[in-house]
């Protein structure tokens, strides 16, 4: 793609991102899904007996949960990674090693376990899903920052008499934005998967709200194939779309 040479790198990255087929399809799918959720909520009210509106309602609940848990997980992961990069040395290495050890575990499976251990306290689900997503975010954050901190343009800025604060605010943070967005984004599909998995095992969301996972679990328990299709499809497609956008963001961050 040929962009004018005076295109700011961020719009340029957006144009390249949307030129990647999977990422563009993922974005379109997410936009369509959000649109459908808003419409469904406005037009259909709460309770209907049709499988599709019911699935859409479940998806709205699941996505809200994934968004909140993902945001929390991304926040924890970013803080963890930032701390590891800022501390460096032995302390920084310990933080990274802990994150690496945890990220290697199938933490999504541990979320229902945490629910079980807490005596099915459903309020535990959100922090548990957030914590499950955080180590991978922390690793990606620390790796991105470690690479950036060695960047020659920071040395050049120091050579030109920039203070530590100026280097941080004018050069390091703006350049870290895209890699950190890519790192944080990965918390969303993880949180959604955690909710789906827990719900399917019967450990649904607090307050008796039925997310996609719960809908899938209930349909399986009823042996209701038609009732299974819509929530399973929605969950699968949403996970795929989040993943595709995340891959695109990562590819842009690594450029």
């Amino acid at each position: 793609m040929n962009l004018p040479p005076d295109t700011h790198p961020w719009p340029a990255a957006w144009r390249r991102l949307t030129a990647r087929t999977p990422a563009a399809a993922g974005l379109a799918l997410l936009a369509a899904l959000l649109g459908a959720l808003v419409l469904a909520a406005a037009l259909l009210g709460d309770a209907t007996r049709d499988p599709l509106p019911r699935a859409l309602d479940a998806a709205r609940i699941s996505l809200s949960f994934a968004f909140l848990a993902g945001l929390l997980g991304a926040g924890i992961g970013l803080a963890w990674g930032l701390l590891a990069a800022a501390l460096g040395g032995t302390a920084g290495r310990r933080l990274v090693e802990t994150a690496r050890g945890l990220a290697a575990l199938p933490l999504v499976l541990a979320v229902p376990l945490a629910g079980g251990l807490s005596g099915h306290d459903k309020a535990m689900l959100l922090p548990a899903a957030a914590l499950a997503a955080a180590p991978a975010v922390a690793l990606a954050t620390q790796a991105a920052l470690r690479g950036l901190m060695r960047a020659e343009f920071l040395t050049a800025a120091r050579a030109s008499g920039a203070t530590g604060r100026e280097v941080l605010l004018h050069h390091l943070l703006p350049n870290a934005a895209l890699p950190l967005l890519a790192a944080g984004w990965s918390a969303l599909p993880r949180a959604l998967a955690a909710e789906g998995f827990s719900g399917a095992l019967g450990l649904g969301l607090p307050g008796g709200r039925a997310g996609l996972g719960t809908a899938i679990g209930a349909a399986v328990a009823r042996g209701d194939a038609a009732g299974l299709l819509a929530p399973a499809l929605l969950l699968g497609l949403t996970l795929w779309a989040l993943g595709a956008v995340g891959d695109g963001l990562r590819a842009e961050a690594d450029r």
């Binding site: 790198p9 050049a156 120091r158 050579a159």
Partner: protein, 546 residues
């Protein structure tokens, strides 16, 4: 050992490779156009060309690996097997070398693993790899770049090809290490009667050991254009030093109480308008020394003065006088800011005396002096070519109107004519404005050509210091002589091995020095004046005769 342990038939006669009107194109662009060429057994041919000239495509096509989407027309004949050696994919990174040799030799020569191991060890030995038997148990991932190249070339040799094609062999290695590697390869090819084709950029040294050189330019293969007018240092200025270093040491704290000393006991002076070259291999300390002069590396001992002022105590105003040219100019520019914005920021910080209204004119002038149109100020670094990025780096260094420029391989990312043009511009600016220059480079040829004086560094110490002209023709230290020989494409005369960093005691070159003796391991030889202004640090009986 001789070539006897390896296949290859010196009696093989006639052309091994013959091209008549060979073209490679994708329907739109001709990468190679009507190339004709004859290569005999035992002949060594170098094909040079700028990056992207199509050298790699040509080599792949000759090895029968024409990339998909590329069409081949004309006549190409290879009598016998062709082997291709390339930088990375030639070796599987995780598989021990022994298996890779065994696989190839069982397929090409029907050898059993035992016989394959013997032949592999012979080929590795021939390529100057130390302890071949041990090396065979290791995967390429565990090897240094130099050893990986020795292994890749040995693998290509061992299969007994009639034609060996090597794409940019050792291009990223130190010139000394690379020249030794290429001389070995060429020596083997001549002895074994193998036709050898070496491809690389003009500065990759592939022409050194070659019998013939052809250039690939805009798809055309032909004799190389007469060398472009190369830049030379202007007359040696005289005068008191403006920059001087006394017993300078640079050490980095390692965090656990230990320190890593990168430069030790270096002294020199640079006059106004003078160019000093810092020559040496990777790890010699030349780049660290350059950065210490720009106050980007911690000085742990000695003293540097600029205009009789102690650099360590100087304030920021000295930064406007001393500017650095970075080895990767594109990476030294913030990708999120336009070139102009970065120059403006620099002016704001270092030239508060220039009012905001006059900044654009000042920036325009700096860009123009660096050879860039004023519109470059509006562009982002990601949109610059390597040549433009190098010039943007120069413009940034010039915008504060410095009096000393420190270059750390400032033309390192450029090739051929672009490289020469950049150096010529730098020297012209120096001559016109009387700027002093300190240039750190591993390319002794360029360094000695553009500088008035030179320091040769090894393991963080100066091993020889003299006027550039004296060093070019009469270097006395074995290591300096190796650097000069490698730059000329000659065999460097050091034993095979790798560039080494600092040594605790003794001469830093002793592991590769053919004249090393007992005393060399015990103490670093002192710098002694062997002729007026010519200093050498060597325990050798008569430096120069060794």
């Amino acid at each position: 050992m001789s070539g006897g342990g390896l296949p290859g038939d010196a009696a093989r006669a006639g052309a091994v490779l013959e091209l008549r009107g060979l073209s490679l194109h994708d329907g739109e662009r001709f990468y190679v156009e009507k190339a004709s060429l004859r290569l005999e057994a035992g002949e060594v041919l170098a094909v040079t060309g700028d990056p992207g000239a199509g050298k790699s495509l040509l080599l792949r096509a000759l090895a029968g690996l024409t990339p998909a989407g590329l069409r081949r027309e004309g006549h190409a004949r290879v009598s016998g097997r062709a082997a291709l050696a390339v930088a990375n994919p030639a070796l599987a990174p995780e598989l021990p070398l022994e298996h890779q040799f065994a696989e190839l030799l069982s397929a090409t020569a029907g050898l059993d693993p035992e016989a394959a191991r013997v032949r592999a060890a012979a080929a590795l030995d021939r390529m100057g790899a130390p302890s071949p038997a041990k090396l065979l148990d290791l995967p390429p991932r565990a090897l240094t770049d130099a050893l990986r190249w020795r292994a890749a070339l040995a693998l290509a040799m061992a299969g007994g090809p009639a034609l060996l094609l090597a794409d940019a062999p050792g291009a990223a290695l130190d010139p000394t290490v690379r020249a030794e590697l290429l001389a070995r390869l060429a020596g083997w090819a001549r002895e074994a009667g193998v036709a050898l084709l070496l491809a690389g950029r003009p500065e990759d040294g592939v022409d050194g050991p070659a019998d013939r050189v052809l250039a690939l330019e805009r798809g055309r293969l032909g004799p190389p254009a007469p060398a472009p007018a190369v830049a030379h240092a202007a007359q040696h200025p005289s005068g008191p030093p403006v920059l001087s270093a006394r017993d300078l040491s640079v050490a980095f704290p390692l965090g656990d109480g230990r320190v890593l000393t990168a430069v030790e006991g270096v002294s020199f002076g640079v006059a106004r308008g003078e160019t000093l070259a810092l020559l040496g291999e990777t790890g010699s300390g030349k780049a660290v020394l350059a950065r210490a002069l720009a106050r980007l590396a911690p000085v742990s001992g000695g003293r540097v003065t600029w205009m009789a002022q102690d650099l360590a105590r100087a304030g920021d105003e000295m930064r406007r006088d001393i500017q650095l040219l970075f080895p990767h100019p594109a990476a030294a520019l913030d990708p999120l800011m336009t070139v102009g914005a970065q120059l403006t920021q620099l002016l704001k910080r270092l030239r508060p005396d220039i009012p905001a209204g006059r900044r654009p004119a000042q920036i325009g002038r700096a860009l123009e002096r660096a050879g860039l149109p004023a519109a470059t100020g509006g562009r982002y670094p990601g949109a610059l070519t390597p040549e433009e990025a190098a010039r943007a780096g120069l413009a940034r260094a010039l915008v504060t109107e410095p009096r000393l420029l420190i270059g750390d391989e400032p033309a390192g990312t450029l090739s051929g004519a672009a490289r020469e043009a950049f150096l010529a511009r730098l020297l012209r600016l120096q001559e016109e404005e009387g700027v002093s220059l300190v240039l750190a480079t591993q390319d002794a040829g360029t360094g000695l050509r553009v500088a008035h004086r030179a320091l040769v560094l090894a393991g963080g110490r100066v091993v020889e210091a003299a006027d550039a002209a004296v060093l070019a023709d009469g270097a006395r230290h074995p290591y300096s002589r190796a650097l000069v020989a490698a730059a000329r494409g000659e065999r460097p005369g050091l034993l095979p091995g790798e560039a080494q960093g600092r040594q605790e005691a003794g001469c830093p070159v002793r592991a590769r020095c053919p004249s090393a003796r007992g005393a060399c391991a015990e103490a670093m030889p002192p710098l002694e004046e062997v002729a007026p202004g010519h200093w050498v640090a060597c325990h050798g009986p008569e430096p120069g005769q060794i």
